[in-house]
Symmetry: C2
Subunit: 442 residues, 2 copies
Amino acid sequence: MFKTLPGFREFLPEECRRRNFYFSQWRRNSRNYHFQEFDGPVLEPLELYEEKSGAEIREQLFCFTDKGGREVALRPEMTPTLARLVGPRLGALRKPIKWFSIGEQYRYERYQKGRKRAFYQYNADIIGEAGPAAEVELMALLIDSLCSFGLGEKDFAVRLSDRQLWIMYLRGLGIEEAQATSVLGVVDKLGREPEDVLEQKLEPLVGNEAAGLLKKMIAFSRQQSLDGVREMFRDSGIVMDELESRLENWNELLQGLQAMGLSSFVQIDLGIVRGLAYYTGFVFEAFDREKSHRALAGGGRYDNLLGMLSRKEAPAAGFGMGDVVLEDLLKEKGLLPKWVEETDVYVVGITPEERSVVLSAVRALRQVGFSVEYSLTGASPKKQFKGADEAGGRTLVVIGPEEREAGQVKVKDSRTRSEKTVSNKEMIACVHHILRGDPELD
Amino acid sequence: MFKTLPGFREFLPEECRRRNFYFSQWRRNSRNYHFQEFDGPVLEPLELYEEKSGAEIREQLFCFTDKGGREVALRPEMTPTLARLVGPRLGALRKPIKWFSIGEQYRYERYQKGRKRAFYQYNADIIGEAGPAAEVELMALLIDSLCSFGLGEKDFAVRLSDRQLWIMYLRGLGIEEAQATSVLGVVDKLGREPEDVLEQKLEPLVGNEAAGLLKKMIAFSRQQSLDGVREMFRDSGIVMDELESRLENWNELLQGLQAMGLSSFVQIDLGIVRGLAYYTGFVFEAFDREKSHRALAGGGRYDNLLGMLSRKEAPAAGFGMGDVVLEDLLKEKGLLPKWVEETDVYVVGITPEERSVVLSAVRALRQVGFSVEYSLTGASPKKQFKGADEAGGRTLVVIGPEEREAGQVKVKDSRTRSEKTVSNKEMIACVHHILRGDPELD
């Protein structure tokens, strides 16, 4: 009759527990890295995303006009919101600003593997640090976050690239900086779209040399070492000083990662340029080693975005990690925990006369923090014991006419089957005793 | 430049911590009551809300047409989504179904105190239990949730009413059940709109007796005891058997709350009827005792909604609690915790030569679960120590050339100022020692 809209997600209890598990691991890692959580509105002015994020985002915006005639969009990503929020507060906040967020984000695109119209994303960003130390911190957090789910260096790698190197290289090929962003949009599609299609896309940007340039760009995108990069630059006859100065940043970044013990997770791969137009320096993406999934996470430096969105300039870098590809990979690797719906205590009343003392015991046990279940309808004792089984109650509290009259309850360990009759006052201590895991009641 | 849309909310770190505090208290209480968390999409088909929720909701929907030509709305409440999700799964789920959710919800209305266009709501529902035992469980959860923030019976009360009693009473006044829902829509506005306006709204529903009927309805709405209700029924000459049978349900509900020790939180108040059209029985709202705020929470029984939305009939009841009024009240009562942004450990490197060992120590400490901060830029020692102060680091790990060469670190308790030089391997144990709260290093 009524269905969930295409591409949107519903979280039944088991899925919701999984989702909350991702959230809590992300939060725990962020705390270890001393990042502060923030959140922004789910709906933003459309213009916040126009142009700044590039064509890739614009086509996929879930946008509409609200009743007040405003053009608005469901947030497709968090970074513009972050830049908008931090900009006006830049002076007051202690720097570097290390913030993270966990929130649902929305893209209006065709439904496909690893992509939905609604997905959760974990974002971590550092604002106010221009050097590669920010990238070290972010890439380490990204890697440790994935590792906290049980993934290791055999399961995933972070591919590291650099739009500054690309822009230098393109300049060597005669492509000016004004065109470079659009040309990188074409580079981003390498391997995903046929070469003749890319050539066609390149032509309006670089004229009729498109075919030859595309070949050189493909060669550059295949570089997986700094020596390889040097080689390609030497061939193109560019001023090497600028290159060497940039390679010093590379060394700082790679040495930082090495000091953190993370080198084995990192691969140089100039094929990564990231789709979003606002990136300005290092960019990186995490992939499963088999590359059978889309990127697990991606990010990079975006030094101009705050200036564009808030008139306050500040260097910045960050990454985002979605829950959809992560979950696919965790499933594939057998790393998804199985949750069992279990209550701590189940309270049984033998006759309807026990109703009041059952309710009183239930609340008393809940107030000290136990998860407590009981039969709402006061069904037959047989049905109640079955209910206790189904609820997975480790401890049974049973009250019959005898116990009620004596102001007592029977407390039973459902695993060892041992039981003990205690006064109402001793009930809580007795339940504690069982749930602490002691094998026998004394 | 770019601003948050009117009525939408941004959560800077302090606000975000507050929000997460509400979430964690709501989750903890739900777990104690053995409710399972679920979540639904933020966007739903418009028709899910049309008619079922009544005029109050329809006027306030944040709705639009998506790119695919679908009429959709940002969810204004969670109950229709719950009914839609549970309906098709009714057979497979263990009953009663006890589910809760925490999510942002949206209403397109004028900005006013205690109301925003976006707000978080905690919802708890029981599906599959027709008797008042469900209401006992829900009202107890509602009360304990508010108490878990430090509020007590002096701060708030739950006002309890009954649309079944109202419908019976209206029938006695000659108003048929078909009109009753619309008439209750008018009752809902008592005290909030002038009587002559309400009389005008009543006229199309009941004809020219509106003035007299309104007076009787006002008298009925003022009843605050079951004896008072009996009195009013006696005057109107209705069959009393039906009334007495309903009052037995009332007794069951009130006795259950008494057994749980919650009577002092509950007030009978027939003035509550709830705006949403789908309620069918008991309804309740929690208010601060001074009634200087809007309702903190509200809910009731909605036995027909599953049938309307999923073609599967099932009795159901639930409540919702928003974060906005709750926060206003907690502020007023001085019950909002102050959070201090604090890291466990701050690692200082005296010269740039220590960079690698600093990074290595940082990651080692993070890996065992400490929150660790350090200077990204490797500033002067003075600036680093200042940074450690600002980050509130309880423990300092200091590495200078001497320590580096000896494979050691200096660990310092920033409160007692005691310090100790230990090997790299002993660092973690030593930090544990300080953070466990022992006053002195030995």
